[in-house]
């Protein structure tokens, strides 16, 4: 179905080729996952499949590409449109028409398809993607997952033989991502459609895919093979695989179910019995209540509604200085609304939010205090770093914040160094990768020297490597005594960083407690490792490795993921 014969491609003006001598052969009906670090050429490869590369981007291509018996290099995207369906990353920028049904029919109207046949096609596709109930809705009112399914439906009407998706879930929350991936698996199984997908969330798709193409970047040769083989060779893996490799489990378990078998074996080998051992090893911070700390933010019976919709009701929270709180909950549970209250962008309808300030003895009440006084204490990094960045260089972004806060200009090298941005100080922020842009936004906020840092979904769109960089950075900030409140869907991130989890549901606090306790009691909000061991003491790979010494010490040091992490997870009490 897809054949790449020694394909080399270079973007216009680029020094080195992105793809080098690439060989690939995909069978009809295969589900291929393309993975690799950011900038390794995943998107480029996918765009070769329908001729967007080189037709939309220019550049130089050598070698032979064949997709569904056609040559995309010669035909270009227009000639490939009915053979290759292409879905992009951003669910917001793919729509031409406002109404779902019209959007799906638009391509067919354009090829002047017979109305009767068109009606049948639209109906089929609505059914296949499970979006028939959305047909009369405006695309602007849909959730991210629904939008992405509409986008898939819109390309499926032309009945392509290959469906290509470029990180379709990176902008979505876990539930929405699952919706989209489930829809893909169904299309692949039911129709035998060839699917090529690039994706960060391996844990969701890994059991459904046939093969993985790993692009390591930096002109390294690509690796193609079945999931177990490829994952055994690469370092960007979900916690389950990382652990399995560290403990030398073979064959590699891809699902929790497969992993449980190894866990049972492991538990049987343990002397003395696991139960005793684990309770002895639970870090003190998890079991004993933390010593009372001076309050940083206190939220008192806060209620807020907009457009007649109750977003927050009766929330009371006491957040101590130096605490790391993860705010979790489904989409629309009120996480962002709560964060916006904490920085005074929204004012409570009822109740109050008070922020302790080191400058003055009295706490700031967000209802009365000027926002300029609040932001001296609280720094807020919004979900979308693009909303902040406007300067020509990273350095200027930082200088802008300091100027706004009437702070003297300082040498920002240390801050940039800490965020791993030193090399990009003079670069245009919007040219950077998603992860780097996220960190520039963090730098721009930290430049104001806030005592409390609020992060809204900091891992959105990050790959495993970028997430590691973020985790390492947060660990340093926490060690410095920074109070951090982070809203996140990322269970693994919360498990590794936070010492307290507040679970919001429908605008109310459902659970509020130490991270380990909350996460081990929950089914949805528990980490992969926790699901694997079903033990409150074990949330992360490092928890397990501390307990179960692997037979050979070298195995751990080979796992790059653990770098910089032990100090973070070291028992604090």
């Amino acid at each position: 179905m897809i054949k790449f014969d020694r394909v080399t491609y270079r973007y216009p003006g680029a020094q080195a080729p992105v793809l080098q001598e690439l060989l690939l052969d995909v069978e009809e009906g295969e589900f291929l996952l393309v993975m690799g670090p950011s900038g390794s050429g995943k998107s480029t490869l996918l765009r070769c499949l329908n001729g967007l590369v080189p037709h939309f981007y220019g550049g130089m291509i050598i070698g032979r590409v064949r997709v569904a018996g056609r040559d995309p290099v010669a035909l270009g995207p227009r000639g490939m449109a009915d053979a290759v369906g292409f879905v992009f990353q951003d669910p917001e920028a793919q729509f031409i028409v406002d109404k779902v049904e019209d959007e799906i029919a638009f391509a067919l109207e354009n090829v002047a398809m017979d109305p009767l046949l068109m009606r049948k096609r639209v109906e089929e596709v609505l059914g296949q993607l499970g979006i028939a109930h959305l047909r009369h809705r405006s695309v602007n009112t849909l959730s991210g997952g629904e939008r992405q399914r509409v986008a898939i439906a819109a390309v499926m009407t032309l009945q392509p033989r290959v469906l290509v998706l470029d990180e379709p879930t990176s902008q979505l929350d876990p539930q929405a991502a699952e919706e989209v991936l489930d829809a893909l698996v169904k299309l692949n199984h039911d129709l035998g459609l060839t699917v090529v997908l690039s994706e960060h969330r391996l844990e969701r798709v890994i059991q459904h895919i046939d093969r993985i193409l790993y692009l390591p970047g930096d002109s390294q040769p690509a690796i193609v093979g079945d999931p177990r083989t490829v994952l055994g060779q690469v370092s960007l893996t979900p916690p389950l695989i990382t652990l399995a490799k560290a403990l030398g489990w073979s064959p590699l378990p891809l699902t929790i179910k497969e992993g449980r078998q190894f866990v049972r074996k492991l538990e049987a080998q343990q002397q003395p019995p696991r139960a005793l051992m684990s309770s002895a090893q639970i870090p003190a911070s998890a079991t004993s209540t933390a010593p009372p700390r001076p309050s940083a933010i206190s939220v008192d019976e806060l209620s807020f509604s907009y457009n007649g919709h109750r977003a927050l009701s009766d929330i009371s929270l006491e957040i101590g200085q130096g605490e790391f709180v993860a705010l979790m909950g489904r989409n629309g549970a009120g996480k962002t609304t709560l964060l916006m209250h904490l920085v005074g962008l929204l004012k409570p309808n009822q109740g109050r939010v008070r922020i302790a300030s080191s400058d003055s003895s009295t706490a700031l009440d967000t209802r009365q205090a000027a926002i300029d006084d609040i932001i001296r204490v609280v720094g807020y990094v919004p979900q979308n770093p693009n909303a902040l960045l406007f300067s020509d260089t990273v350095r200027e972004e930082i200088a802008f914040t300091r100027l706004n806060h009437s702070l003297p200009a300082v040498d920002d090298t240390a801050l940039l160094e800490q965020l791993g941005l030193a090399a990009h100080a003079g670069h245009y922020p919007r040219d950077l990768s998603v992860g780097e842009r996220q960190r520039v936004a963090v730098a721009a906020i930290l430049a104001g020297e806030p005592q409390i840092l609020l992060l809204d979904e900091p891992t959105r769109g990050l790959d495993y490597q970028q997430k590691e960089a973020l985790v390492a950075f947060l660990a340093i900030e926490k060690a410095r005594g920074q109070t951090i409140i982070m809203s996140t869907h990322d269970v693994e991130l919360a498990a590794r960083c936070a010492d307290r989890v507040v679970l919001l549901g429908d605008g109310q606090v459902v659970v509020d407690g130490p991270a380990r306790q909350v996460m081990s009691e929950s089914l949805v909000f528990s980490s992969q490792i926790n699901k694997l061991f079903r033990d409150p003491a074990l949330l992360t790979v490092d928890d397990v490795l501390r307990l179960h010494r692997p037979p050979n010490r070298d195995t751990i040091t080979d796992v790059p993921v653990s770098e910089g992490v032990p100090e973070l997870m070291a028992p604090s009490g």
Binding site: Q94, I96, M118
Partner: protein, 362 residues
């Protein structure tokens, strides 16, 4: 729901009197009819929310017109109060007649605004765009994209404003626009490029045969050249007509020729675009009814203009009476504009199915 064409007819029937009848009684009737139509049909549509804004703008116009006219026009016999003569322009007697005349002017604007706002709220924009003639198809597509784009732009703008605010950004001068405008511009551009790529990937080029790309290019070039020639001809014709003595015949001939040429080129371009329709909006009996009613309204307005021109306009200044004249037949005809609302109440269940996708027979 009504057929798009029905709404266009309604718009014409309501806008023509709104533009031509300068008489508050008729204007109030048009206003009332539009309001009833909006209340019955327009409130559910997402665009309908802007109706209130249009009304507010119109009311502001009325207020401004009253003040402005009362202060600047000093005619009339009923004097409310006097301003010192020495004041330029505003000085002198302030009369009730002048205030009323201002209100009538403002009311005219308000009526026009409300008519268009109502049309905007009740019509299906996508259907309206699809009703554009074939040669304007691309323009229609661009507008439909813009309509989809705007709500996202507004969202981004709010997000950016908040993000910069909590970064300590304050708005003090023009220079402070940069942190707000730059991200919005960049975000919109990025989105636009992404959309262009999406459209490219989905094969949204209005090319008939993908393999005859070459000949399509040539034809497009030819059409553009033809259009340019026709426009030049038009210009030359106008020039002959106005500036050259004795050039009237030649000028007129050239004008007609150019317009015909333009028509042929556009028609030819329209022939190139082949597309089918997913939805076919059905013309139903209530569409006929409303169309006939609108025809009656228009006819009555024109007849009134011809037969009783003195009853169609109103001026409060002496020697006229302060009471506006009124032709009850025209007034009754204007009330017919509210018919879509009445009709809807009766036939809700039947008319829900008007915009069925093609292929289903009633």
């Amino acid at each position: 729901m009504f057929h798009t064409l029905t709404w266009v007819i309604w718009l014409v029937a309501a806008a023509v009197p709104a533009f031509t009848l300068r008489n508050p009684l008729y204007q109030v009737l048009i206003l009332g009819a539009s309001w009833i139509v909006y209340l019955a049909l327009g409130r559910t549509s997402p665009v309908g929310r802007s109706w209130g804004t249009f009304v507010r703008i119109g009311v502001m116009f009325v207020a401004v017109a009253v003040v402005f006219n009362a202060l600047s026009s000093h005619y009339g016999t009923i004097i409310l109060f006097r301003l010192p003569q020495a004041w330029p322009i505003v000085g002198g007697p302030i009369t009730l007649e002048a205030a009323i005349a201002g209100a009538v002017n403002g009311l005219g604007l308000l009526t026009i605004l409300v008519v268009f706002a109502t049309f905007n709220a009740v019509v299906d924009h996508y259907q309206l765009l699809r009703a554009t003639p074939a040669f304007a198809f691309q323009v229609g597509t661009v507008i439909s994209i813009a309509i989809t784009f705007v709500p996202q732009m507004v969202l981004s703008a709010t997000e950016i404003r908040q993000a910069q605010r909590i970064r300590g950004h304050r708005f003090r001068g023009i220079r402070d626009l940069l942190p707000l405008v730059m991200p919005l511009l960049a975000t919109s551009l990025e989105r636009a490029i992404q959309l262009a790529e999406t459209m490219e990937a989905r094969g949204f080029a209005t090319v008939l045969h993908p393999d005859s790309l070459e000949s399509t290019h040539r034809r497009a070039l030819l059409a553009q050249a033809g259009l340019l020639a026709a426009l030049l001809g038009l210009l030359a014709g106008l020039f002959l007509l106005t500036f050259v003595a004795g050039g009237t015949i030649w000028g007129l001939g050239l004008l007609i020729l150019s317009i015909a040429g333009m028509g042929i080129v556009l028609w030819g371009q329209g022939q190139q675009v082949r597309r089918s329709r997913y939805r076919r909006v059905r013309w139903r009996s209530h569409d006929t009814l409303v169309a006939i009613a609108c025809g009656i309204t228009l006819a009555a307005v024109i007849a009134g203009k011809l037969a009783t021109p003195q009853m169609m306009t109103y001026s409060p200044y002496p020697p006229n009476s302060l009471l506006p004249p009124f032709n009850p037949y025209v007034g009754a005809a204007l009330l017919l504009l509210a018919l879509p609302a009445v009709r809807w109440q009766v036939s809700t269940s039947e008319s829900e199915q008007t915009t069925e996708p093609e292929g289903i027979q009633p």
